[in-house]
Structures are given as structure tokens and as C-alpha cells.
């Protein structure tokens, strides 16, 4: 599908109203507004020239609108005063456009979700389904093995034509350095940044630091990564010394851009770990290496997610471990029934991924996520230890439940995987979540990492990271002045002192100039 057509669809999805040709043009093409301003002044000839240019833009946009109308994706709803047509998106609430090839437009009805033992909690706002409209017919997230892809052009095509239509949150581009070592990625970055915005998906690019070979391509890439792309560095402790210059350059560029820098401790977690709108995602090492998926280009990571607003729960039921475990058990039962529906329709829902992998077993590895929001860490009125204990106790019960269900389904000749993971939720996962009640983990220098209160906070996060087997994201908010060398020293301390598989450095509050050295010379 042409880029302009994608933009038109995206515009209608966002605005969800009737739009005229001029309104579409105005929203999609910046030059149109500029040209309209020019009509107010200038010579007659210039005005005529401007009018011609505007007419040309109108013709161009009409060409694309007509194509979408012919494919029944848009429909004409009325004619305006001067005969200008108004359009609307021709998709019902329960329909989803799954093909981006206009000639093969296919619409499938969204499945009806069965009655579940969490609806009472949903009404109270304690539990929410992540993306309820596509809770069953889309995966939350997938991982693309970039080393199995020939070029960035091919990757763009795969994302646009196969992957985005099957997911409702995030895609991880694992081992991206394999492509970056071969090609310039500026055009790709531009495109992917725009596409992810238009399609409402989050993209994580994961780069193994020790495998960067083309420094020129890398620096160019690093300077151009947009804020809506998560750049994650896959690093071992020894890499911090061995690739010190490269890392310094990364810190320098990222801190100047005030971007957040993400690190995955490769030693603690060798398999994928990335971020979405719902929260972090990960795949366990054993699953990642399993024979079932070793040939897959696209590996499904998460099937469905539910979010628990712990603050809302405790405000109604206080720290009642039994009640909390009962809630989590009900959530697990709900996910189990959703999984059953999803499995039986998997060939239809995930057709594109099946085609891409040339294998049918899309669901041999993914887990389901129970995400927690406002779970009392650094919350003034709640003892974090009690909350951690409550979550930890429910985790034991859930693990037992998952094991029992696997036995039951296997014994009944319906062998499938049923796996639940715990993780944290991000605020963006649902707009109805309670107001964030976390205090940030701030550090000004490496000495802070040795202070009792900071150590205690990091320790709490370390414990939570262990319970959150689906992934946890710990952010260090760096403030004060800094040099790249100092930051690397701090990162090194975190790597060597704590069991944090994934953390980030936030440079928004950093002051002053950095020492600028061109480490690549």
C-alpha cells in the first residue's frame, strides 16, 4: 500500500469522523497549508502558480482517496457546498483491516470474548484487559530475528505487510547489528519511526554492543534514532571495558539528546528483552533456544495481557493476600479461556506470521502477561515488603495453576502451552489507571549508588525483577553534571553489584556541557 494511503487510513482512525478532501490534504501534506498562506499575497502570476500547485496536490490526494474508495475502505458520505466530497472510514467497530494489499482486502469479525470471572473487578477498575478490542485476535508482541533477514528493505516490508497487522503492542528487532553492519539505516529509521507512529506500535531495536563492526554506520544510526524507538544495548559486564570508547560515544550522544538509554545484561538474560506500550516483555532462554522456534524469523512473545491496578485493589481490600491471590487466579482462568479461543483460530488470526515463518506453530513459545500498576514500590503510605510478599505469594499459586493446566490439557489430548508471566505495567497501557505513585530512583554520581537509601531502593527493584519473570524495567534518573566516563563507571557498578537484567538511564535532568571527544578518530 502506498505511504499516502496508509497516512489517510491512520488519519481516519485517529479522528474517527467525516473528512473532506481539503481536510485530508491539510492533515497529511504540510506544503498545502504553506501554499494556502501564499494565496493571500504576491503578484497575480504567483497566485496563479500557487493555485496550480494546490490543484496538483488535490489531484494527487484524490488519486489515493479514489483507490481507497474503490477498495471499499473509504466511503463517500456527502458533498459539501462547492461539491467537495466528504469521506469516512468504511470499517465497522467489530471489523479489523488485516490486509494492506488493497486487492486482497480482508475483513474478519472480531471474536466475542466469553464471560470471565474478572468482570466484577473490571467494573471496579482494578483489572483491565490490554487492548480489549483485539484481546484475542492479536498477539501483544513479537521478536524478529534480524540475522535471518537479508536487508533493511526486506525488514520494512515484513513489518508493514506481515507483522504490524498481527500485533497490538510491540515488536523487537533482535540482533539489529547484523543489518546495521551491512547497510546505512537512516531511511529505515525514518520510515519505521513514522510507521510505528501511524500504526500505533512500539518498536525496540536491540543491538549487541560487542558485535558492532561498522562504526560509521553505527554513529550515523545513533544520531538519528527518534525518541519513539527504544534502543536497547545488549551488554556483558566485560564489554563496558572492552568497548569503552564506543560506549562513551553512545552515552555522549544520548545524554545530549536527553534520550533514555536502555541496557540489557546479556549475562543475566541472554534472550530477548524489550519494551512496549503495555510494559516490558521478555522471552526465557530455554524457550528462545528451543528447537520449535529456532528457524522462525518472527517469534511470538506475548499472547494476551491483563493489568492489575494494585493501588485500586489495596484501597478497596487493603493488603489481603488471600483476596489478591483469588483475583490473580481468576485472571489466570480468564486468560486460559481466551487462549483456547485464540489457539483454535490461530491459523486465521496469525496467517501472516505463519506465512513468514513457513511454520504453523506460532503459539509454541509465547506467554500471557499479568501486569501490575502502582504496586507500592517507594509509595509513602505502603510498606513495599508487604506488597512484594502479596505478589510473590500469588505468583506461587499461579505457577502451580499453570503446571496443573498443562497436565490437564496434555492428558486430555489437547496438548498446548499455557504460561503466565508477571511484569509491571506502563502508564500508557490504559488511560483509566490510577495516578502514578512511584518515586523516581535518582542518582547524581557513582557515590550515590553506595548510599544506604539508594541501595535499599535498588534492592527492592532487584527483588521485584526476580518476581516479574516477564520483565521489569528499572530507571536510573541521572541528574547533576556528568561526563560519559562517569556514567559508564556508574553503569559498571550496577552491572557488577546488582541482579538487574534490564535497566535504563534517563538523562532528562542532566546539567551542563559534556566533554566532547570524537572517540572514533
Amino acid at each position: 500500500m502506498h505511504e499516502t494511503q496508509q497516512k489517510i487510513i491512520s488519519l481516519f482512525r485517529k479522528s474517527s469522523k467525516e473528512l473532506s478532501t481539503s481536510q485530508i490534504l491539510e492533515s497529511i501534506d504540510n506544503s498545502y497549508t504553506e501554499l494556502k498562506k501564499q494565496l493571500d499575497s504576491g503578484s497575480k502570476d504567483k497566485i496563479k502558480l500557487t493555485r496550480d500547485k494546490i490543484a496538483q496536490l488535490h489531484r494527487k490526494i484524490l488519486h489515493h482517496i479514489n483507490k481507497l474508495t474503490d477498495a471499499d475502505i473509504l466511503r463517500i458520505v456527502k458533498h459539501g457546498e462547492k461539491g467537495e466530497k466528504f469521506f469516512s472510514l468504511n470499517l465497522e467497530d467489530n471489523e479489523e483491516l488485516i490486509s494492506i494489499d488493497l486487492k486482497k482486502r480482508a475483513i474478519i469479525p472480531s471474536p466475542s470474548v466469553p464471560i470471565m470471572p474478572i468482570e466484577g473487578y473490571e467494573q471496579k477498575g482494578i483489572v483491565t484487559k490490554y487492548e480489549p478490542a483485539t484481546w484475542i485476535d492479536k498477539l501483544n508482541s513479537v521478536v524478529i530475528r534480524c540475522e535471518k533477514i537479508g536487508s533493511l528493505k526486506e525488514l520494512t516490508k515484513i513489518l508493514n505487510e506481515k507483522v504490524f497487522s498481527c500485533i497490538n503492542d510491540a515488536v523487537c528487532l533482535e540482533n539489529f547489528q547484523a543489518l546495521l553492519n551491512k547497510e546505512h539505516a537512516l531511511e529505515f529509521l525514518e520510515r519505521i519511526s513514522e510507521d510505528s507512529e501511524n500504526y500505533g506500535k512500539k518498536v525496540s531495536i536491540v543491538i549487541t554492543l560487542s558485535e558492532i563492526k561498522n562504526l560509521q554506520n553505527f554513529e550515523e544510526f545513533l544520531s538519528s534514532v527518534k525518541k519513539n524507538i527504544f534502543l536497547i544495548f545488549n551488554v556483558r559486564s566485560q564489554d563496558l571495558q572492552e568497548h569503552f570508547k564506543l560506549l562513551s560515544r553512545i552515552v555522549e550522544i544520548y545524554s545530549k539528546k536527553k534520550n533514555e538509554l536502555y541496557f540489557k545484561n546479556k549475562t543475566l538474560h541472554p534472550s530477548p528483552y524489550f519494551l512496549g506500550r503495555a510494559g516490558p516483555y521478555s522471552i526465557g532462554e530455554k524457550d528462545w533456544l528451543s528447537a520449535d522456534i529456532k528457524e522462525h524469523i518472527c517469534v511470538a512473545c506475548c499472547q494476551s495481557s491483563l493489568i492489575v491496578d494494585v493501588n485500586k485493589f489495596t484501597s478497596l481490600y487493603s493488603l489481603d493476600t488471600e483476596k489478591f491471590t483469588e483475583l490473580i487466579l481468576n485472571i489466570s482462568k480468564s486468560i486460559l479461556s481466551a487462549n483456547s479461543l485464540q489457539r483454535r483460530k490461530s491459523e486465521e488470526y496469525f496467517k501472516n506470521i505463519i506465512q513468514l515463518n513457513n511454520k504453523k506453530d506460532v503459539l509454541s513459545v509465547p506467554r500471557n502477561y499479568i501486569r501490575f500498576w502502582n504496586y507500592g514500590l517507594s509509595q509513602k503510605d505502603i510498606d513495599p515488603e508487604l506488597v512484594i510478599n502479596m505478589i510473590s505469594e500469588s505468583k506461587k499459586k499461579i505457577d502451580s495453576f499453570s503446571r496443573a493446566e498443562e497436565i490437564i490439557y496434555n492428558s486430555c489430548g489437547m496438548p498446548s502451552r499455557f504460561s503466565l508471566a508477571f511484569s509491571c505495567a506502563f502508564k500508557g497501557s490504559d488511560e483509566k489507571l490510577s495516578e502514578a505513585k512511584y518515586s523516581a530512583l535518582e542518582i547524581k554520581n557513582f557515590e550515590d549508588l553506595y548510599r544506604k537509601n539508594v541501595k535499599a531502593k535498588v534492592k527492592d527493584r532487584e527483588i521485584i525483577s526476580e518476581i516479574f519473570d516477564g520483565g521489569n524495567s528499572v530507571t536510573f534518573h541521572r541528574s547533576g553534571s556528568m561526563t560519559p566516563e562517569e556514567v559508564i563507571r556508574e553503569i559498571s557498578i550496577i552491572f557488577n553489584s546488582y541482579n538487574l537484567p534490564f535497566f535504563s538511564y534517563n538523562f532528562e535532568n542532566v546539567k551542563g556541557d559534556l566533554k566532547i571527544t570524537n572517540f572514533f578518530k
Partner: protein
């Protein structure tokens, strides 16, 4: 060891008690600790009350057993259901491989009611006998013997978790028995299972003991 009872519930309780008291300690490849007994046979007089063990499991409200109609659609379904490693129905009824029931057992029993060849095999060496294979059928085969106008059904199960698994297996055996009875116009007879590795896991010992102590 053979346990003979009138009903599925009684046989299930006796089997669990026997494992608890007589079986050897056992640790599976995932490190789960339990009890195991090799070659345990359970025989029940009729399919009456065959769903009871599943009802008992559901009454605990701690697990979700697949609904009976879903289990029926899996065992009697003729197609591979996507998203599952294998399906018994597909193995038994799918004409793409061999519809062993409609194209073999039914005509065989009509032609030769006393035949000892009426077997359905779920295990397929071409698909299953590989070291890297994660899941292979637990139920290897079913055999059907028509004697005195009653169809006696037997299932051979290579790995049989007796607390959660057996209730489903005996129910599925009864469904296939029922299906064949209707096709050949006979009455259902006894139901037997031969569990090569009959086991349970200690993780569910409390509930197992509760079942053993249950009255009718």
C-alpha cells in the same frame, strides 16, 4: 495390578489410594516429585457416571478442566485443531491419514463382530519418534472387542497422570465407545485403561487425599 470397580469414580479413588500407598517415589524430567507404578489396569463395568471424576475435580474450583463438549469435539473431531501439538481426533478420524474408526473399525465389526483387530492407534512413529519432539500422545491406542452384543473398550496409555489425566482419558474412551456402538448398533460394555506409567505429583497431594476420603 488390576483394579475392578462398578464406577469410574470408585476406580479413580482406588487407583489414587493404591499409588499413594504402594507406588515408588518418582521424579520426572522437570524435577516434579511424585509416585509412580508401572502397568496399572483399571476396569469399570459401565460408562454410567463416567463424568463424575471430572465433576469432582471441577468442584475444587482451583483448576479449569476443559468443558465436556470441547473434549468431545477434540476426540471425535476429524481435523487437526490448530495451535495444539497433536489431537486425538485428528489421529483417529482424519481421512488425510486414515480414518481408523469409520473406514476400518466400524466395517470390520459389522463384517466380523468377534474380531480382535479393532484398534485405533494414536501414536504415529513417523511423526512422534524423534528425540527433539516435545509432546507425543500419551494415549497410544484404543481397542474394541464386541462380545455378546456388548462393545468392551480398552485404552493403552503410556504416561498417565492419574489425578488430572485419567478422568479425561476414561471420559474420552467412553465417547469413542459410544460412537462405535451407534455405528454398529450394539450396547456399550466395560471400559478399561492400561496405564504403563501410572503416576501423580505430590504437589496435589492434599487434594488427592481429599478425593480418596470422599464418599460417593
Amino acid at each position: 495390578m488390576e483394579i475392578k470397580c462398578e464406577t469410574a469414580f470408585e476406580a479413580w479413588k482406588k487407583a489414587l489410594k493404591y499409588l499413594l500407598e504402594e507406588a515408588d517415589n518418582y521424579v520426572d524430567k522437570k524435577g516434579r516429585v511424585g509416585k509412580e507404578y508401572l502397568n496399572l489396569t483399571l476396569k469399570i463395568d459401565s460408562k454410567k457416571g463416567v463424568e463424575k471424576p471430572i465433576e469432582v475435580l471441577n468442584s475444587f474450583r482451583r483448576w479449569v478442566y476443559p468443558p465436556l463438549d470441547e473434549m468431545k469435539s477434540f476426540i471425535l473431531g476429524k481435523k487437526q485443531v490448530p495451535g495444539y501439538y497433536y489431537n486425538y481426533g485428528d489421529r483417529a478420524f482424519n481421512p488425510e491419514w486414515r480414518n481408523q474408526v469409520d473406514d476400518y473399525i466400524v466395517p470390520l465389526l459389522k463384517l466380523n463382530p468377534e474380531s480382535k483387530r479393532a484398534v485405533v492407534v494414536f501414536y504415529n512413529p513417523e511423526k512422534d519418534s524423534y528425540l527433539e519432539k516435545k509432546e507425543t500422545p500419551g494415549m497410544i491406542m484404543m481397542a474394541f472387542n464386541l462380545r455378546k452384543k456388548k462393545l468392551h473398550a480398552t485404552a493403552v496409555i503410556r504416561s498417565n497422570e492419574m489425578f488430572f489425566g485419567w478422568p479425561g482419558n476414561i471420559y474420552q474412551l467412553s465417547l469413542v465407545q459410544d460412537y462405535i456402538c451407534k455405528q454398529v448398533n450394539c450396547e456399550p460394555g466395560t471400559l478399561s485403561t492400561m496405564s504403563v506409567s501410572a503416576h501423580f505429583f505430590n504437589e496435589h497431594l492434599d487434594e488427592i487425599k481429599q478425593v480418596i476420603d470422599m464418599r460417593r
